[in-house]
Amino acid sequence: MAGGNKRKVPDINASSQADISFMLLIFFLVATTMSTDKGLTRVLPPIPPEDVKVEDQKQKERNILLVFVNGVGQLLVGDEQMDIRSLKDKAKEFVLNEADDENLPEKEDKEIEMPDGSTWVYPESKGIISLQTTRDTNYDIYISVQNELTAAFNEIRDDVAMKKFQAKFSELSEDERSVITKAVPMKISEAEPRKGAVKK
């Protein structure tokens, strides 16, 4: 019995533990991907019901800024050709219409409910940016135009958020953010391509 007490359980050799965890590591390296899913999010307009007349949706000319991208990547904004670098400022000028110009979009006072229950009246712009392409426009030009327009709206939202909440849009809480989004909705209409290279 005394001999039995003396006998020790041998240590389990742990040197293969590293190999096992290496194998696991390599499995995860191979079978997984880094989550880098980022993109420009948009909400498409629903397909209008057949019986709705097109006339109802007609907008006043001053409320629409037409951005047209052709097959070689040239931009037509309103009725002038423009470099993509000036598009953001043009879009901001159009949406804000600070001088209440007659040729720029109308504004409509909108009552927005604040998180604390009060209402806030903000002159919402009725401007819509209509983005049109041809069927042979390259996707990357389309994305850079979308990017510039998003940047314009983001800057306006930042400004409005700064005035209202003294913070940037990205630093706001969920409720405050939805207030700003209601005040400055991202009105970009992505129409179907016109006079396409392929005839339908």
Binding site: K38, G39, N138, N147, T150, E192, G196, V198
Partner: protein
Amino acid sequence: MAVMKKKGKKEVPAISTASLPDVIFMLLFFFMVSTTMRDQELLVRYRLPEATEVQKLEKKNLVSYINIGEPVPHMQAKYGTATQIQLNDAFRTAKDIGDFIAAEREQLNEADRAQMTTSIKADEFTKMGIITDVKQELRRANALKISYAAIERQGNNND
């Protein structure tokens, strides 16, 4: 002399590898947390366009992917180099998007269906005609939340 002898016999002690498993485990946990399972094999090659105003897609299980681009080299023998649309694990046409969206929607909870997002991962040299066809089909399938996948570019090209 005795001192000299001792010196000669002395060996460099082996570096302890006892902490190696711990280091590897740390790496392993890092990868387990920061990555997600690869859910489909890519049959098309794409280079996403760059943008600065990108938003991260939350809740990956609510996202369905539409990959658009040139077939990968081993598929080119069969399909050529024309731009293809990949849904799940096969090349499809824009007409099949309705069924694809219906199937994806079926997999989600009732409550999550409104939140479903479709991520369009298209090569930067894709023609807008294809993108527009895809968008029209998505509208028809009532999958209105979309995301144009893009790589984040730091800074702004205006500065």
